[in-house]
């Protein structure tokens, strides 16, 4: 194969790969505006599924619960994950480090069903033993989500922290800043991009979780993925397409804004 031929083939593969990633999203958006309820029939443009979505109280309640959980989870996981990431990047060797790295790496790959069942049984056993948590609901979902989100935040913070220029921090210390002051005024601002992406990652992971929440939630605390799952199981539900379109729109907007900020910053530099 000639060099150019090889390059063209490679490019073709990549285009196909991106098409594979985006086709399902295009389908979701397109069919949210389909007047027909059937996915195989195009019945003309319509926004009626959006009207139906916003009058569906079950979906709205679940969405509110999921947003609440996602926000508290993201904040908690960012706190714990930042500590864990700094420990991995900065603290060198200490007794129990190997186990600690394992506790950060394992949640990244652990199948959801294993995390879900083991945490539920833990909550049940704790309730028998110490009377807490009383039943299951928002608080047990939060604990479960913070547990796996922390690992993701830790990895993001660790990679940023180990790439940081230590000399600025050392200069602050040499000039007499207390370690805590140097951390708050020098290190933390430099870590800010990692904290922001860690927070967003934890937020998304929580909003996306069906399996673990199904195990550890109680009656009356159905999250959005749980409601979506029970709906799409029953058949075609175009208002779910409308919901997906809104979500994709929000994500695209956020991504666009992030890119714009990045470009502006690099132009200034």
């Amino acid at each position: 194969m000639s060099r150019r031929g090889g390059k063209m083939a490679l490019l073709g593969l990549v285009v196909a790969g991106f098409a594979f990633l985006y086709l399902p999203l295009v389908v979701l958006v397109l069919f949210s505006f389909n007047a027909s309820k059937l996915v195989s029939v195009w019945g003309g443009w319509s926004t009626k599924w959006y009207v139906e979505l916003f009058s569906n109280e079950q979906i709205l309640n679940a969405a509110w619960l999921s947003l609440k959980i996602a926000m508290i989870n993201a904040t908690g996981a960012t706190l714990l994950g930042t500590m864990a990431g700094l420990v991995l990047a900065r603290f060198g060797r200490f007794g129990g480090r190997t186990l600690f790295t394992g506790l950060i790496a394992a949640p990244l790959v652990m199948p959801d069903v294993i995390i879900g069942i083991s945490l539920l049984l833990t909550f049940v056993s704790m309730e028998q033993l110490v009377g807490w948590p009383h039943g299951r609901g928002l608080d047990t979902i939060l604990i479960a989500h913070i547990t796996f989100s922390t690992a993701y935040v830790a990895v993001v913070v660790q990679s940023r922290a180990s790439g940081l220029d230590r000399s600025i921090e050392e200069a602050a210390l040499d000039l007499g800043a207390r370690p805590m002051t140097a951390f708050l005024l020098v290190t933390l601002p430099m870590l800010a991009p990692a904290l922001a992406s860690g927070w967003l990652l934890a937020f998304t992971l929580s909003l996306d979780d069906l399996v673990i929440a199904s195990f550890v939630s109680g009656p009356g605390s159905s999250t959005l993925p749980m409601v979506i799952f029970s709906k799409v199981r029953l058949g075609v539900t175009p208002e779910i397409n409308a919901l997906a379109t809104l979500l994709i729109g929000a994500v695209a907007l956020a991504a666009g804004a992030a890119t714009w900020i990045q470009i502006r910053r690099s132009n200034r530099a």
Partner: protein, 307 residues
């Protein structure tokens, strides 16, 4: 924070005092959290897998009788080993996850390669394009795949329209749908670690080889490919391990009799309400995955050392 002796041998000997310093407190909080809510739960699952199902609240027999005698048994594990159904569920899960990982690697490698070799501006845009689907709901994307692959769905409609087939092909509820679903949803997890490895690769080695008369494909096989092995392993583990225990994809795209452990565990727990058997299913799945998880951790730790 700044500690000149951070990675020196001095701190290794000062192991005890670490936990009583301010640093110990910073490390202790996340450590304790993960210990209590990630590690201890495995012990509890194991403990409950030794019980037998019972109509009670919670629905399993106590491990110790009223007189304090031990009443646990390997009853559930015996069931798992004797019933062919469970054995084939584990084997099939490993097979489906393995094939999907391979497909993901074959699609993801060229994508990661092109991204790593692109100009910085294009590179950032392409990386964003890889991440974007991941930020939108996983469940909804699997649902979209379901509508595309349905008998009356878009894929069949297109193939019929083009005259490539005479009757709709059955795609949903086959292993094919599982491969597509897993490769699709896990593709970013393959691309990102591969990209990270390729981006840091010393391309001057490849250029030197080519200057010395090495053909491009040979340079790729002899230099680029071996050097990207760590990224391939990390990506493969990020796909293979969770895919083995996957529940949503077999449930939504697979046949009702698809044998996947994740799905079997879910049904045992939620439909049959047998918490003890579901626990033993989880313990055996975890044991099967211990080696791949350790491999993943080693690759992660190496990467951390290099950084």
């Amino acid at each position: 924070m700044a500690d000149a002796s951070a990675s020196g041998p001095a701190t290794a000997t000062a192991g005890k005092s670490f936990w009583f310093s301010g640093k110990g407190a910073v490390a202790g909080i996340p450590y304790l959290w993960l210990f209590v809510f990630f590690l201890v739960p495995f012990a509890i699952v194991f403990r409950i897998s030794l019980s037998e199902p019972m109509i009670a609240q919670p629905p399993y027999s106590p491990l110790f009788g009223a007189d304090g005698s031990y009443q646990g048994s390997f009853f559930n594990y015996q069931l798992l080993f004797e019933e062919a159904l469970f054995r084939s569920a584990y084997l099939n899960s490993l097979w489906v996850a393995g094939v999907s990982t391979l497909v993901t690697l074959l699609i993801g490698y060229p994508m990661a390669y092109i991204i790593a070799r692109a100009r910085p501006m294009v590179r950032n845009l392409l990386l964003m394009a890889v991440m974007l689907p991941f930020w939108s709901s996983f469940l909804l994307r699997v649902y979209a795949l379901k509508t595309i692959m349905a008998d009356t769905g878009l894929a069949n409609g297109l193939l019929l329209h083009l005259g490539l087939i005479d009757a709709p092909i059955r795609m949903l509820q086959t292993d094919f749908a599982l491969y597509v679903g897993i490769s699709y949803t896990y593709l970013p997890f393959m691309i990102l670690p591969l990209y990270a490895t390729l981006e840091r690769l010393d391309w001057s080695l490849v250029e030197a080889a080519e200057d010395l008369g090495c053909r491009p494909w040979k340079g790729f096989l002899l230099i680029t490919l071996p050097l990207s092995v760590p990224g391939m392993i990390a990506g493969a583990m990020l796909v293979f391990i969770p895919a083995t225990g996957e529940f949503v994809i077999p449930n939504m795209l697979g046949a009702s009799d698809t044998l996947m452990v994740g799905r079997m565990l879910w049904d045992t727990f939620f439909s049959e309400r047998d918490w003890t058997l579901a626990s033993s299913l989880a313990v055996v799945l975890l044991l099967l995955l211990v080696l791949p998880i350790m491999l993943f951790q080693i690759v992660q730790a190496r990467r951390e050392q290099r950084a």
